[in-house]
């Protein structure tokens, strides 16, 4: 078992080393095998682990059931600080393992086709493998430092992959932006860890959680810890205020966006909070803050998505808003819901990106949906898969998104109605902008240039197969957690239950909803979605002029939104410019004019004195004699007469 666990992250790492050190010399064929191969292998291994875990369920007697900790070696150990390189296997991490490796594998396969003609082919797969390695560390780690290794590692890989086409400084800037914003979060995470350590004298999940169980709810330290960790999550999962890097991150190749900026990395924050559920449950204040942030983000991002025209940017904003959903779920203690949505989202959002990728591929680089349209005929596979994904994200039954969203919504309703309402509105907006995107891309006549028109073609099988597989998953992903309502048995909840057991025990459970209410809610949201979809259809398929509304007619609000609320400009004005100015000021004025001048001043004063003193040496004997006599008189005077 241990070997398997070691192999799961090790294989991608080996893949990375092989491709990385092998460098340009490795032929593309080998790469196309090694790259996805390693991931496939660890996917299989993950499945084995999964099976192993389900079999031995309940047979464990460790601190929290259904979990194993495998220690490889002690990493840093001083006194009571003992950070060991150890993996934790429990339902939560296994679920993440499956998602990461599974989706990761599909995307790798897709990339084989997508990156075919790229000079940096090997480099690309090296990075991707490295990413998977770090992501696996992140989810498998049995203590916060190991998670942090993965946490920063994935950040690095996202940096490398966003700036993959490094000749373009726009992309590089995007990459830097991503890395630095993540770093801001990481500092929070780091401080959180320190506080954890000073409080619990350990950084292992088990020790911490078992101690935390005993603590009173709303404990100040816990609140501080959870908040600090949440800052980390905000950075990593692109929530307000640290979300602006994600849309820019679309500069990277589309598979990257699919894997890192949709399916896996950005959900790390969700995973982290789900992992430390007990801490969060015990600090309601934090939960409220999370809730507010999450809901604001959800709506905010969705509203921006409505007016974007770059196919990938739209998806990026939709990712942000979906992440908002997940955090909202967490904030109301619906950890299972969050993880469920995380999973389904991984499916359909990855699918969306890949499909978008194939669209872009087909057109030959163009990403502006205003220059697309009518691709339904040209790319049928892409069309259908995209449709499924869109339905899924829009929350149309029986597609996966419906179930995950519905669970969150009903939980929200239990929690309080305002939350529910906000999230419902979010759902409607999602439905709207997704279908806007869908219609504009696939319906009506093609609006691109001529040679683009010629270029149009369905992507090769190597790309479409993953699309199909994913679309299947996106379609039926819901079965993971079919609510009792539909005669399901909430399998996922059952599976994850042990992880959240303590949290659930602590949390005050609101009265469960009656089936009637649930039906009602479901109906309402569904209706709302359908209406918005219809409206989108009216606006973008039927209406002639509705297609490209000219800027002038737009209301101020709309313009504000379509300019992304000028947040980037704001940050630039508030943070970037001042710090640059500060840097220059410190160097030019404080450093050179002040500190250094004082230092030199001392020397200059001494030299000046020397220069003046030396003129006493007049070279005139009489004068010398006079001074001497003066000296003699003084000495005699002071020593004898006084």
């Amino acid at each position: 078992m241990k070997l398997i666990l070691i192999l799961i992250p090790l294989l991608p790492l080996l893949g990375f080393l092989f491709l990385g050190l092998g460098f340009k010399s490795i032929p593309k064929k080998v790469t196309s095998i090694v790259g996805p191969g390693t991931i496939l292998a660890s996917f299989i291994l993950s499945i084995i682990t999964f099976i192993h875990l389900t079999q031995q369920a309940g047979t464990q007697s460790s601190l929290f059931p259904h979990s194993d900790v495998y220690t490889l070696f002690s990493w840093i150990s001083i006194g009571s600080l003992d950070i060991s390189f150890s993996f934790l296997i429990d339902p939560l991490s296994v679920l993440m393992l499956l998602v990461v490796t599974g989706v990761g594998f599909l995307i790798h396969v897709y990339s084989v086709g997508y990156m075919k003609d790229d000079p940096g082919y090997n480099r690309f797969f090296a990075y991707m493998n490295l990413f998977v390695f770090f992501m696996l560390l992140l989810v498998m780690g049995a203590n916060y430092p190991i998670m942090f290794i993965g946490w920063e590692g994935v950040g690095l890989c996202s940096y490398l992959l966003i700036g993959f086409w490094f000749k373009n400084h726009e992309y590089n800037n995007a990459a830097n932006k991503a890395f630095i914003m993540n770093r801001i979060g990481d500092l929070g995470f780091l401080l959180g860890m320190f506080l954890l350590f000073t409080t619990f004298q350990s950084l292992n999940y088990q020790d911490i959680f078992s101690q935390a169980k005993g603590m009173t709810s709303g404990n100040g330290t816990l609140v501080a810890i959870t908040l600090l960790l949440f800052i980390g999550a905000v950075g990593k999962s692109a929530q307000i205020p640290l979300y602006t890097w994600l849309p820019d991150a679309m500069a990277g190749p589309t598979p990257v966006s699919a894997l890192i900026h949709a399916a896996t990395m950005v959900t790390a924050g969700v995973y982290m909070i789900a992992r430390s559920n007990i801490l969060y449950v015990l600090s309601p204040a934090t939960m409220e803050i999370i809730g507010i942030t999450a809901i604001t983000t959800a709506l905010f991002a969705a509203s921006i998505a409505i007016f974007q025209n770059d196919i990938k940017k739209i998806l990026a904003y939709s990712t942000i808003s979906q992440l908002g959903y997940m955090f909202a779920a967490l904030s109301i203690g619906a950890f299972t819901g969050a993880m469920f949505h995380l999973t389904t989202h991984a499916f359909f959002k990855a699918l969306l990106f890949l499909a978008a990728g194939s669209v872009i591929h087909a057109i030959g680089g163009g990403q502006d949906i205003r220059n697309m349209g009518g691709l339904r005929k040209k790319l049928p596979k892409t069309y259908w898969t995209f449709l499924i994904a869109t339905l899924a994200i829009a929350g149309i039954p029986p597609f996966s998104g419906f179930f995950s969203k519905d669970e969150i919504l009903s939980k929200a309703f239990e929690f309080n109605h305002v939350t529910w309402f906000a999230l419902a509105v979010g759902a409607f907006m999602t439905a709207f902008y997704m279908f806007r995107l869908f219609y504009l891309t696939f319906f009506r006549a093609f609006r691109g240039t001529e040679e683009e028109k010629h270029h149009l073609h369905e992507s090769p099988a190597v790309m479409t197969t993953p699309l199909i597989v994913l679309s299947v998953l996106a379609a039926i992903g819901g079965v993971l957690n079919i609510p009792v309502l539909f005669g399901g048995e909430n399998w996922l909840s059952g599976f994850l239950a042990p992880v959240f057991a303590d949290a659930m025990a602590v949390k005050v459970q609101p009265a469960a909803l009656s089936h009637a209410t649930e039906w009602l809610l479901m109906a309402t949201t569904l209706a709302g979605c359908l209406v918005t979809i219809f409206w989108a259809w009216r606006r973008y398929v039927k209406q002639e002029n509705g297609l490209l509304p000219d800027e002038a007619k737009r209301s101020l609000l709309v313009q504000l939104i379509s300019k992304k609320y000028y947040i980037d400009e704001l940050y630039d004005f508030v943070f970037v410019k001042p710090s640059l100015w500060c840097s220059r000021y410190l160097h030019q004025v404080v450093e050179l004019r002040f500190i250094d001048r004082i230092v030199n001043g001392v020397g200059q004063v001494v030299i000046w004195t020397g220069n003046t003193v030396r003129y006493v040496q007049t070279g005139n004997v009489g004068f010398y004699m006079f001074i001497m006599i003066l000296g003699i008189i003084l000495i005699l005077f002071f020593n004898i007469l006084i």
């Binding site: 830097n176 160097h587 450093e591």
Partner: protein
Amino acid sequence: MLTILLILLPLALSLIILIFKEEKAIRQFALAGSLIEFGVGVAAFIQYKTSCHCNLLFTTDWLATLGVSLKFGMDGISLLLVMLTTFLLPIIILASFNHAYSRPSAFYSLILLMEMALIGVFTSFDGLIFYIFWELALIPAYFICAVWGGDDRIRITFKFFIYTFVGSLFMLVALIYLYFRTPLPHSFDFQGLYAVRLNPGEQTWIFLAFFLAFVVKIPIFPFHTWQPDTYSGAPATGSMLLAGIMLKMGLYGMIRWMIPICNDAVQEWGGVAMILAITGIVYASLIAIRQNDMKRLIAYSSIAHVGLIAAGLLSLTTYAMQGAVIQMVSHGINIVGLFIIIDLIEQRTKTRNISNLGGIARTAPRLAIFFMLFLLASIALPLTNSFVGEFLLLLGLFEYSAIFAAVAGLTIIFSAVYMLWMYQRTMLGKANEFTENIHDLTWTEMAALVPLVVMVFWIGMFPGLFLNVALPDVMQILNYTK
């Protein structure tokens, strides 16, 4: 015995090398010599026993009348630094091969002499001998930087010399003062000096004297202004020696002398000193963001990094102290790596200005990769050496004061900002007339860089070995402050 050998070998080499005439022989001799020295260092490392606090002791009377004795030995901390020195020297020498330095024999002789002085500093357990080596190290450093340096070197290096010299004079006074406070017969032996009980007033003065000496050397804001000029003015080899090893003398001095001797004062004034150091972190990082000369940028970043180390030391917590020791080694490795890279770039493009560079990643990918590795190391990415150090340092600081830790932690963000900026502007983007047709790393250059990278990840992944070596002595030092 090994200790004294470690000191005498470089001295002998530095004298012998003067007889060689043609450059090739000199270089090979220097390299071989430094490698042998490294071998001796390794031998010492093997012989070293963590159990006893002062290993490989060598003692003999020197000035019985003045209670000065040649007492050389190693505890874990010195051992690590000696290892660092002996490890870096061959690499630095190797890296200097693609320069055609005038009067090579003198050049390499000075380098070896400096190695001798540095090892002397790290291994001497007698106050005066420590001071003698401390000053001795300054002379070769001065000449290396002044004679083979860049433009405006005369002013810069002289400033550097007189600044550090004046600083260390204070230490001399402090040492002599302590000497007279030791019980008769007076002696400079470190135990004797540790044992001196001073009243608060004296403590403060002694502390200030030591602090001034070390703070200038390290350097810590606001005593740092000599450093960026010197680093950028010095020849590549010089900056490596200064930044990689010599700068550690100050930190080492803090651990070995300042903290144990005036522990009360450290506890009393440490806060203020830490505020200085932490201010320095933010200050230097901010300045680094806007630097155009790569060497200057690194210089400022180094001020920030050592500021963190110093702050950690003064927090007097086990973790921070441990972190400081590890980080001293890591910083040495990383900054030497970065300076080598910068030097290689300058060699190829004849410029060091970020604004002139770009697109090297395409023309010289290996170079870019190594650069990236050292960059990641110096921004403390997990699994690289300086993450271990900074993690422990910040943890220790956090135990001392959360605010300090939070502010000092900003270095994590800032370092990313300026380092990535530098990387982007030099390596990425489109190639220009400077960088169009530069050749990639040669094998000798790789030979210089690879060991560093190995160390980066070794310390990053398995720091246990190094931590365990230092731990008992760190505890020992901290015991004096109890």
